[in-house]
C-alpha cells in the first residue's frame, strides 16, 4: 500500500523547493509540479488497483507511531483513492491550463497551486476533525492567495468577499469542533462514529455548527453570493480549480461528517441542497455572462450532490450504492464543469451570444457539446445513469417532493445549457480564436476522458446489453469517418442498418414489434437516400442520423425500462442534433429539446412508479401481462403525446419540423412521431385491463386526438410556408392515430396502426417531393412558387399521389385508413367525435388543395424558369414510397391482415370482423359494412380511365397557350407577390374560423417562459454585489437553518 503520508510530504517538500527550482529556470519548476501531480494521481490509481486485488488491506495510517485517538490517522481506502486519483489528475490538467500564467507569475503562483492541492489531498485523506480544519484552512488560504495572482479589481473584491465568507464559516466550524470535543473527548472521526449517539442538545448544536461551517463552504443558495462573484471574476483556471478540486475536497469532508448528523439535521441540509440545485439553475436561466452562469450551475451541481448523498442515505441505502450514484454525478460535473471553465478561458467571450466564435472551430464545438450534454444528464454520460437510479429509488420509496425538485431543476438546467449550445452552434461567427496548446490540452483530455468513461460505463452497466451501445458506437464511428464523401457514408449506413435490422432487430420481435421496427427503422433507412444528395462530405449528418435510427430500433427492442429510456433519450439527442443542423434552427432546436426533456422527465417519473421489468424479455411482450397504475400511465401517456405533438403540447412541433433541414423534417414527421405512437400503444396495453373505450380517460384521450386532428388541420390551412403546412398536417394526422388508439378495441387499434403505416408512406413522400421543390426554388413560401408542374413533373406526381392518400379519396390507401377510423369510431358509438374527425378531413382538403395548386399549377414565376427536376437521391425514396402506397392500396390485405394479427396478440379479433378474399367484412351488432380496397381501386381506375381516354380523343382540338396568353388564367403576371391569389389564400375561411386558431398555446408558453425568467431575475436581485450583504446572508441562513432544526 502507498503510504498517504508520502503524498502529503511530497507536496509540502516540492512547494518549498519550487522557490529554489524557479531560480534555476521557470520551466523546471513548472514541469516539477506537473510531475508531482501526475505521481500523486498515479498513487491514487495504484492504491485503487492494490485494493481491487486485495480488498481487505488495512487502509488506515497513523502518524507519530501512536494509534487512533492519540494521533492523527489518515485513511486511503477505495473512495479516497478514487478522489486522490481524480483530483490530482484535474490538478495536473488545471496546471497545464495555467502554464502561461505560471510562466508570468512564477514561483509564488506555482507554490500556491501546490498548496491548494495539498489542502485538497489532506482533506480527503484525514480522519481527524481538527486536522480537517487545518487542511481546510490550508486549502482556503492558498486559494485566497492564488486568486490575487490575477490582480484586477474585480478578482480582488471577489477575493475579499470570499475570505470574509470563508472566515465566518471556518469560525463556525472551529467552535463546532471544540464543542463536539467537549462532549466526546476525542477529535477522531472514527472514534466519534463508534460512540453511541449522544443525545444532549449541546452536542447537537456542536454538530450543527460543524455541519453549517462546512456547508457554507459548499456555496448553498442563497448564502453563496461571494462564490458567484468569485467564479465570475477569477482567472478561469482558478475558477475551474475552485469548482472542481476545491469543492470536491470540501464535499468529501461533508460526506465524512454525514454519518454523525442526526436525521433531522441531515434532512435540513439535504433539503437545502435540493433548494440550492433548483434555485441555482433557476437563476442561471437569465444569465448572459458565461462565467457567472457557470458559477450558478456549479453551485447548483454541488447542491445536487449534497442532496443526493443526503437523500439516499436518509432512505437507508447501503453506502456503497450511495457513493456509486454520487460518483456518477460527481465525475460528470468534475469533467464537464472544469472543462467549461477552461473553454470560457479559451473563447474569452463573456456574453453567451458571442460564443458563436466556436462555430468556425468544429473541434471545440464538439468538446463544448460533450460538456453541455453531459452536464444536463443525457446518455451515455454517467450523470444520466445516476439520475435514473436516484429517480427509481425515489419512486420506490415514494419521495415525491424530492423527485419533483430534482426533475424541475434538471429541466431548468437543460434550458440554459441548450440555449448556450445553440448560440455556439448557430450564431453569427466572425473572428478566429487564439488556441495555445497548453489550454487546448486539458480541454481535449477531459472531453476524451469523459467520453470514454461514459462509453465504458454504458458498456459495463448492468441490465443494458450490447444492443444499447450500438447507437453510441454508430455516432462515434460515423463521426470518425465524417470526412468521407456523403455517398459512401450513405451506402455504409444503409448497409449497416439493414444488416442489423434484418439479423438482429427483427428475429426476436413479435409481430407488433416487427411492424414498428419496419416503420421506425425501415422507414428511416429509405430516407437515408435523401441525405446522399449533398455534395462532398456534408459533415454532421451521419453520426446523428445513424444514432437516431439505431436508437429507434432499440426502443422497440428494449426489455427493461432502462433500455427503453436510454434508447429514447439517445433518439431525442440525435434528433436534436439533426434539427440543429437547420440554418435558422436555433430556437426550434431549443424548443424541441426542452419539450422533449420535459416529456422525458415525466417518463422517468412514470417509469419509477412502474413495476420492474424482466431483463431479456421484451417489454412489448411483458406489457401483455403487466399492469400499471393510473398515475404512471398518465405521466407516460403525456410524455408520448408530447413526442407526437398532441394539441396543447404541440408548441415545439411546427418550429422543429419547419426549421430543420428538409430531409430531417421528413424523418421527424414520418418516423419519429411513430416512436410516440409506439410508446402510447405500450401504455394503453399496460392499462388495458381496467380501461375500456367508454372509460372517461379514453374518452378524454379520444377528444385530445380529435382536437389535435381538428386544430392541426385548421392551422395548416392558414400557413404560407409549405413546410409549416406539412408540419401542422402531420400533427393533424397523428391526432387521428390517437383517436384510433383511444378506442381500445381491435378495430380501433388496427385503424390507428394502419394510418400510422400510411402516414409514414405519404408524409415521407410529400416531404421528399417538397424537399426537392424547396431545394430548386430556394423558398418555402407557397405564394412565391407556381407552375412547377412542367419543370418538376416527378415532384408533382409524388405530391399528387401523396395528397390523394392523405385526403382519403379513393382509390389510394388513405381512403382505407379513413374508412377504418370512421367505422371503428361509429362502432363504439362515438358519434360526436366521428363528426369532428370527419370535419377535420374536410378541412384537410383545403390545405392539400392549396399545396398542390399554388406550387405546381398556375403561373410559373419568372425567376424560377430555370428550375430543374430534383436530384436522383430525392427521387429514390419517393419511388419506394409510391410503390408502397400503390401496393397497400391495391392489396390492402398485405398490411391489414398482419396488423389484425399483431393487434390480436393484445386485443382478440372480434368474431364479426373477417376477410372474404379482398373484402373486409364487418358485421358487428352495432354496425355493418365492408371494404374491398382491391375493388375500389379497379372501379376508380375505370372511372378515371374512361374520361382520360375521352380527353385524349378530344385533345386534338385543344389550343396550346403560352404563359403570357392572358386567356390562360384569371391571374395577371408581374404583380407583387402579396396580391397573388396564393397569398393568404383562405382569407375568407380565416374570417369565419380564424378565432379558433388564435395562438393561445404560443401565448401560454411565452407566458410560462416569461414568468420563469422574471422570477429568475427577481431572485438574482438578492446578490447585490455588496460584501456585507453577503455576510448577512450567511448569518441569516445559519440562523434560519438553526431555527429549522429547533434545538433548545
Amino acid at each position: 500500500m502507498v503510504n498517504p503520508m508520502l503524498l502529503l510530504a511530497m507536496f509540502l517538500i516540492t512547494a518549498f523547493l519550487i522557490a529554489l527550482l524557479d531560480k534555476l529556470h521557470r520551466k523546471i519548476s513548472i514541469y516539477t509540479i506537473y510531475a508531482v501531480l501526475l505521481i500523486a494521481s498515479g498513487m491514487g490509481f495504484w492504491q485503487l488497483n492494490t485494493l481491487l486485488y486485495n480488498p481487505n488491506l488495512s487502509v488506515v495510517v497513523f502518524s507519530a507511531g501512536f494509534s487512533a485517538p492519540l494521533s492523527i490517522s489518515l485513511q486511503f481506502g477505495v473512495v479516497e483513492a478514487v478522489l486522490v486519483a481524480l483530483l490530482n489528475l484535474f490538478g495536473f490538467l488545471g496546471a497545464s491550463y495555467l502554464y502561461r500564467r505560471f510562466l508570468q507569475s512564477g514561483a509564488q503562483a506555482i507554490a500556491l497551486y501546490l498548496l491548494v492541492l495539498l489542502g485538497a489531498n489532506g482533506l480527503v485523506l484525514t480522519r481527524d476533525i481538527f486536522n480537517s480544519f487545518v487542511f481546510l484552512e490550508i486549502l482556503s488560504i492558498a486559494t485566497y492567495a492564488i486568486i490575487a495572482v490575477d490582480q484586477n479589481k474585480n478578482s480582488l473584491v471577489a477575493g475579499i468577499k470570499y475570505m470574509l465568507a470563508g472566515g465566518i464559516s471556518s469560525t463556525l466550524f472551529l467552535i463546532g469542533i471544540v464543542l463536539a470535543y467537549r462532549y466526546t473527548g476525542t477529535l477522531n472521526i472514527d472514534t466519534w462514529l463508534s460512540l453511541s449517539p449522544i443525545k444532549t442538545p449541546g452536542y447537537t448544536v456542536a454538530l450543527f455548527l460543524m455541519a453549517i461551517g462546512v456547508f457554507i463552504e459548499l456555496k448553498p443558495f442563497p448564502a453563496n453570493g461571494w462564490a458567484l462573484d468569485l467564479y465570475q471574476s477569477a482567472d478561469k483556471g482558478v475558477a475551474s480549480l475552485i469548482s472542481s478540486v476545491n469543492t470536491a475536497a470540501i464535499l468529501f469532508l461533508y460526506y465524512k461528517l454525514m454519518p454523525l448528523f442526526t436525521p433531522a439535521l441531515l434532512e435540513i441540509l439535504t433539503g437545502a441542497g435540493l433548494i440550492s440545485f433548483v434555485f441555482g439553475n433557476l437563476i442561471a436561466l437569465r444569465q448572459k455572462n458565461a462565467s457567472r452562469l457557470l458559477g450558478y450551475s456549479s453551485t447548483a451541481q454541488t447542491g445536487l450532490l449534497v442532496f443526493s448523498l443526503g437523500a439516499l442515505s436518509l432512505l437507508g441505502l447501503p453506502q456503497g450504492m450511495v457513493l456509486r450514484i454520487a460518483l456518477g454525478l460527481f465525475i460528470t460535473n468534475l469533467f464537464a464543469k472544469s472543462g467549461l471553465f477552461w473553454l470560457c478561458g479559451v473563447t474569452k467571450r463573456n456574453n453567451l451570444q458571442d460564443w458563436s466564435v466556436l462555430r468556425s472551430d468544429s473541434g471545440l464545438l464538439i468538446i463544448f457539446g460533450i460538456f453541455a450534454v453531459a452536464l444536463m444528464g443525457f446518455p451515455p454520460f454517467p450523470s444520466f445513469f445516476a439520475k435514473w437510479q436516484i429517480i427509481q429509488i425515489f419512486g420506490a420509496s415514494q419521495a415525491w417532493m424530492w423527485m419533483a425538485g430534482l426533475l424541475i431543476g434538471s429541466l431548468l438546467e437543460v434550458v440554459y445549457l441548450m440555449r448556450w449550445l445553440g448560440f455556439a452552434a448557430k450564431g453569427e461567427s466572425q473572428s478566429t480564436l487564439e488556441k495555445p496548446f497548453s489550454k487546448l490540452f486539458p480541454l481535449m483530455v477531459s472531453a476524451l476522458g469523459l467520453a470514454s468513461v461514459s462509453y465504458y460505463l454504458t458498456l459495463m452497466y448492468p441490465q443494458i446489453g450490447t444492443n444499447s451501445i450500438y447507437p453510441i458506437m454508430a455516432f462515434i464511428l460515423f463521426g470518425l469517418i465524417d470526412i468521407l464523401p456523403v455517398k459512401l457514408k450513405g451506402v455504409l449506413a444503409i448497409a449497416a442498418l439493414s444488416l442489423w435490422g434484418w439479423f438482429v432487430l427483427l428475429p426476436p420481435l413479435p409481430l407488433m414489434g416487427q411492424l414498428f421496427a419496419l416503420i421506425l427503422v425501415g422507414g428511416s433507412i429509405v430516407q437515408i437516400f435523401a441525405f446522399m444528395r449533398y455534395q462532398g462530405a456534408a459533415e454532421g449528418f451521419f453520426p446523428s442520423l445513424t444514432m437516431l435510427i439505431f436508437a429507434l430500433g432499440n426502443i422497440v427492442l428494449a426489455s427493461t425500462k432502462l433500455q427503453f429510456f436510454l434508447a429514447w433519450e439517445l433518439m431525442t439527442l440525435a434528433a436534436y442534433l439533426l434539427i440543429l443542423k437547420g440554418k435558422k434552427a436555433r430556437v426550434a432546436a431549443l424548443l424541441f429539446i426542452v419539450f422533449s426533456s420535459f416529456g422525458a422527465y415525466l417518463m422517468l417519473a412514470g417509469f419509477s412508479m412502474m413495476p420492474n421489468t424482466v431483463e431479456g424479455y421484451l417489454i412489448i411482450l411483458q406489457a401483455n401481462f403487466m399492469a400499471i397504475d393510473w398515475l404512471p400511465a398518465l405521466l407516460l401517456g403525456v410524455a408520448f403525446l408530447i413526442k407526437m405533438g398532441a394539441v396543447g403540447v404541440h408548441y415545439w412541433l411546427p418550429a422543429a419540423y419547419s426549421e430543420a433541414d428538409d430531409e430531417t423534417s421528413s424523418i421527424l414527421s414520418s418516423v419519429l412521431s411513430k416512436a410516440g405512437v409506439f410508446g402510447l400503444l405500450m401504455v394503453l396495453i399496460l392499462i388495458s385491463r381496467f380501461v375500456s373505450s367508454s372509460s372517461i380517460s379514453m374518452m378524454a384521450l379520444g377528444w385530445i386526438g380529435v382536437f389535435t386532428a381538428f386544430f392541426g388541420a385548421l392551422m395548416a390551412v392558414f400557413q404560407e410556408d409549405a413546410k409549416k403546412l406539412l408540419a401542422y398536417s402531420s400533427m393533424s394526422q397523428l391526432g387521428y392515430i390517437v383517436v384510433g388508439l383511444s378506442l381500445m378495441t381491435h378495430l380501433g387499434w388496427v385503424s390507428a396502426l394502419y394510418l400510422a403505416v400510411n402516414h409514414l408512406f405519404f408524409k415521407g413522400l410529400i416531404f421528399m417531393a417538397m424537399a426537392a421543390v424547396f431545394l430548386r426554388t430556394g423558398t418555402r413560401n407557397m405564394y412565391e412558387m407556381g407552375g412547377l408542374i412542367k419543370k418538376m413533373p416527378i415532384a408533382f406526381i409524388s405530391v399528387l399521389m401523396g395528397i390523394i392518400a392523405v385526403s382519403g379519396v379513393p382509390p389510394l390507401s388513405g381512403f382505407g385508413s379513413k374508412w377504418f377510423i370512421y367505422t371503428s369510431l361509429l362502432e363504439q358509438g362515438r358519434y360526436l367525435q366521428t363528426a369532428l374527425v370527419f370535419f377535420s378531413s374536410a378541412i384537410a382538403f383545403l390545405y392539400l388543395y392549396r399545396l398542390i395548386h399554388t406550387v405546381f399549377l398556375g403561373q410559373a414565376k419568372p425567376n424560377q424558369k430555370d428550375v430543374k427536376e430534383a436530384p436522383i437521391w430525392l427521387i429514390i425514396p419517393q419511388g419506394i414510397f409510391i410503390m408502397a402506397i400503390m401496393a397497400i392500396s391495391v392489396f390492402p390485405n398485405i398490411i391489414t391482415k398482419p396488423l389484425s394479427l399483431a393487434v390480436g396478440d393484445y386485443i382478440a379479433k372480434p368474431e364479426w370482423l373477417n376477410w372474404d378474399g379482398y373484402n373486409l367484412v364487418l358485421n358487428s351488432p352495432t354496425l355493418h359494412g365492408n371494404w374491398n380496397g382491391n375493388l375500389v381501386m379497379y372501379v376508380t381506375m375505370g372511372v378515371f380511365i374512361i374520361p382520360l381516354i375521352w380527353l385524349l380523343l378530344v385533345n386534338a382540338r385543344t389550343q396550346k397557350v403560352k404563359q403570357f396568353n392572358i386567356v390562360f388564367a384569371a391571374e395577371r403576371p408581374y404583380k407583387p407577390w402579396t396580391t397573388h391569389f396564393a397569398y393568404n389564400m383562405f382569407a375568407h375561411y380565416e374570417k369565419a374560423l380564424g378565432f379558433l386558431v388564435k395562438p393561445r398555446v404560443t401565448a401560454f408558453y411565452k407566458g410560462v417562459a416569461e414568468g420563469f425568467h422574471s422570477l429568475s431575475a427577481t431572485l438574482a436581485r438578492i446578490y447585490t454585489g455588496n460584501g456585507q450583504t453577503y455576510m448577512l446572508h450567511i448569518f441569516l441562513y445559519t440562523i434560519f437553518l438553526y431555527l429549522l432544526l429547533g434545538v433548545k
Binding site: 481538527f130 472566515g167 469560525t171 467552535i175 471544540v178 467537549r182 458567484l228 471574476s233 446578490y1023 455588496n1026
Partner: protein, 123 residues
C-alpha cells in the same frame, strides 16, 4: 465563565463591525475581533473549574504508581483545546494578513476602501 462571556461578547462585537462598518479595514478589524472572541470561547470550553494547567510540576498532585509511571491525582485543564487555539491563532493571523494585503491592493486599484464602492459584480 467570565472568559466565555467575554469571548461571546467579542464575537458579537466582531460580527457587528463586519456587518455595519463600511470601511474595509474596519471590517477586517471586526473579523479579527471575531477571531479573538472565538479563541477565548474555545479556551473557555476546555477549562475545568479549579484546575491547574496541564503541566506536570508541583502544582499538580502526582503520585508514582506500581509500574513506576506518573499518575495525576489533581484536576488539570484539558490541554487539547488550548493546543487547538494555538493553531487557530496562527491560521487567523494568516487570514487577517492576507485580507489586509488584499485591502491595500484594492485601494491601489480602486482608490477607495468603502465596501459599497465595489459592487460591480452582481446578479
Amino acid at each position: 465563565m467570565m472568559v466565555l462571556i467575554c469571548g461571546l461578547l467579542l464575537m458579537l462585537i466582531g460580527i457587528w463591525a463586519m456587518l455595519i462598518k463600511k470601511n474595509i479595514i474596519r471590517i477586517i478589524i471586526g473579523f479579527s475581533i471575531l477571531d479573538t472572541g472565538t479563541h477565548l470561547v474555545i479556551v473557555a470550553i476546555g477549562y475545568v473549574k479549579h484546575a491547574t494547567a496541564p503541566i506536570v510540576d508541583k502544582a499538580v498532585n502526582i503520585s508514582q504508581n506500581a509500574e513506576g509511571g506518573i499518575q495525576v491525582l489533581g484536576k488539570v485543564v484539558d490541554p487539547v483545546p488550548s493546543a487547538l487555539v494555538l493553531t487557530a491563532i496562527v491560521i487567523g493571523l494568516a487570514v487577517t494578513a492576507l485580507l489586509l494585503s488584499f485591502a491595500v491592493r484594492l485601494y491601489k486599484v480602486g482608490n477607495s476602501l468603502n465596501i459599497n464602492d465595489y459592487e460591480e459584480l452582481k446578479w
